[in-house]
């Protein structure tokens, strides 16, 4: 019990952010028309590419060859997620736009 409470106290800021973000995510999405489901999924997909920041941090303090290689791979894959995600989403949305 003490452990759990200690854990909570130690990470209270993060827990706070998590809870607020959950509600925010639900609120932001809830009235989306069906035609935007695919672009929205794709856009959200690009946003979780934020994992690349973790990859960069890992790479930044990597000191062994092993962690260098894995970190390098992580940065490449993370970038793929970010760049590919945003570009694909833009391509989808571009098509909707030229109609106007």
């Amino acid at each position: 019990m003490e452990n759990t409470l200690g854990f909570f106290l130690q990470h209270r800021e993060a827990i706070f952010i998590v809870i607020l973000s959950i509600f925010l995510g639900i609120e932001v999405i809830s009235h989306v028309p069906a035609i935007l489901h695919t672009p929205l999924m794709s856009g959200a997909n690009a946003i979780h590419g934020v994992v690349i920041i973790g990859a960069i941090i890992v790479m930044g303090h990597a000191d062994t060859t092993g962690s260098m290689i894995l970190g390098f791979l992580a940065v490449v894959l993370g970038t793929l997620n970010v760049v590919g995600g945003f570009v694909v989403t833009d391509r989808m949305l571009e098509m909707f736009k030229k109609k106007k």
């Binding site: 999405i29 992580a74 940065v75």
Partner: protein, 478 residues
């Protein structure tokens, strides 16, 4: 005061930029959910990401200085950018869903790699102080598990949508999957209850856990097929979001935390919305057997009647109202442009032409809208199924092009059918129905479609593109 003296400019700038990035993510996502602002929203979020990346490289050390290995980081980013850009620009619009799945998998893999690198690096001081059962280790293990499952699952989903992985269904699958899930959780509990001084002595366990998570990811997606695929991709998308958020815990990084959790929760809601569009529950999708053999006991009475191109052209040209129901078959044949040509031709003859778009037409909700938009079909002609259904009895001809399950009356008639209850386009209400199909094969959900045997239905067999081309020529020569 002590704390204040530690604050320096680099760190402050970094944290401010993270706040800005988080705001841009939120705004971007919000704008993405409205048709008019969607494109700007996407670009906004991309800028948020760019700022966060640059700031991380420049300031992310304890004293706010640039981090190490910058040349290597830039090379890695350059490689990822070029590959990602080229793939994203080159891929055909029909292959969009599997591409989203592919990129999603990359994010999951990156999250898993981070955990693998960080696990042996957990500081012995932290373990001495709090034991191995601390938040840091938990975040690493969860990041590894969720990231890996998301990666493996996304790759399978990618393969399935691309058509080189088939469905695999074993009755006991859900028990097997449940068991593996418990094994994974068991691993986490086991690792976190060890009495060790450093995590490096447990590192081999991490690799075994990674392997088990790969197996789980594969088996999790393997039995799911048919129209449920986009739901799974959306679900895996939110998994990756959570995995990224674990990285946020790990580094106490607010941008990763907000970005990850935001996608995690928005992705979950999106998944639920998609399920609702198909009148299915999420649990049903995950453990259900959609697209399985279906009801084998359907007795087919009546026979399939064909129509000649000329007859079809005459029928269409002298109608008042025509409704086109496009499906994935239209998309794979790349026939959306020629289809639009047919509709323009008919409109010139005074025929009113509309498109009936089912929420899950194509391979993802909204996929068909993207494809038709690509072919310059105006927005106003695309009508959602709920709206067009009451109008169908007044429709002279309804043309089904490469669609199947979304017009299958079994969804209304046959409680034993796996698609029973799914909202459909009530094609049989129309006065005449023309179905364009490659052959008598079953749809993506592998269910017999009684619409094809309806008295009002005429079949036009052949590849959608060439059939439409021939039909256009016939209409022109009338």
């Amino acid at each position: 005061m002590d704390q204040l003296s530690q604050i320096n400019n680099g760190i402050s700038v970094l944290e401010i930029i993270y706040v800005i990035a988080s705001v841009l993510f939120i705004l971007g996502l919000k704008m993405l959910s409205h048709p008019l602002t969607a494109r700007r929203g996407n670009i906004l979020a991309a800028f948020g990401m760019l700022f966060a990346i640059i700031a991380t490289i420049l300031f992310h050390t304890k004293d706010g200085k640039p981090i190490g290995n910058i040349p290597w980081i830039l090379i890695a980013i350059a490689i990822g950018t070029v590959i990602g850009w080229v793939i994203a620009k080159k891929v055909k619009m029909t292959a969009m869903p599997q591409l989203v799945s592919f990129f999603n998998g990359m994010g999951g893999a990156a999250a898993a790699l981070i955990s693998m690198i960080e696990f042996p690096n957990v500081s012995p001081e932290l373990i001495a102080e709090q034991g191995i059962a601390n938040g840091h280790v938990l975040a690493i293990l969860l990041g590894l598990m969720i990231g890996t499952v998301s990666w493996a699952g996304s790759m399978i989903a990618y393969g399935k949508l691309d058509g080189w992985i088939g469905d695999m269904r074993i009755k006991a699958m859900k028990y097997i999957n449940l068991t593996i899930l418990f094994v994974l959780i068991g691993f986490i509990v086991f690792i976190m209850t060890r009495d060790v001084q450093t995590t490096s002595e447990l590192t081999p366990l991490i690799y075994i856990m990674f392997a088990v998570a790969v197996i789980y990811g594969v088996l999790f997606v393997m039995p799911i097929g048919g129209a449920d695929m986009p739901v799974v991709i959306s679900l895996l998308n939110s998994f990756t979001g959570v995995a990224a958020a674990m990285g946020g815990f790990l580094y106490n990084n607010q941008a990763m935390l907000t970005g990850g959790i935001l996608v995690g929760s928005a992705g979950t809601i999106l998944t639920v919305l998609m399920c609702r569009a198909m009148n299915r529950s999420l649990l049903n999708v995950i453990v259900g057997v959609f697209g399985g053999g279906g009801s084998a006991n359907v007795t087919v009475d009546g026979s399939v009647k064909e129509i000649s191109l000329t007859d079809a052209a005459v029928l269409l040209s002298y109608s008042k109202k025509v409704v086109i129901v496009p499906g994935y078959g239209l998309a794979v044949a790349q026939a959306q442009h020629i289809c639009h040509e047919l509709d323009k031709l008919l409109e010139e003859k005074g025929v009113e032409v509309k498109y009936a778009i089912h929420p899950v037409a194509g391979r993802m909700p909204g996929h068909m809208n993207v494809l038709l938009a690509e072919a310059d079909v105006p927005y106003e002609q695309l009508i959602e199924s709920d709206e067009i259904n009451p109008d169908l009895p007044n429709t002279d001809v309804l043309i089904v092009i490469g669609a199947n399950d979304v017009v299958n009356p079994a969804a209304e008639d046959d409680p034993s059918s796996p698609i029973y209850g799914m909202p459909i386009i009530k094609a049989r209400d129309a006065k005449n129905i023309i179905v364009m199909k490659r052959g008598m094969g079953k749809g993506y959900a592998a269910i017999e479609n009684m619409l094809f045997f309806n008295d009002k239905t005429r079949m036009l067999f052949g590849d959608a593109k060439s059939t439409l081309q021939n039909l256009v020529n016939e209409v022109k020569s009338l």
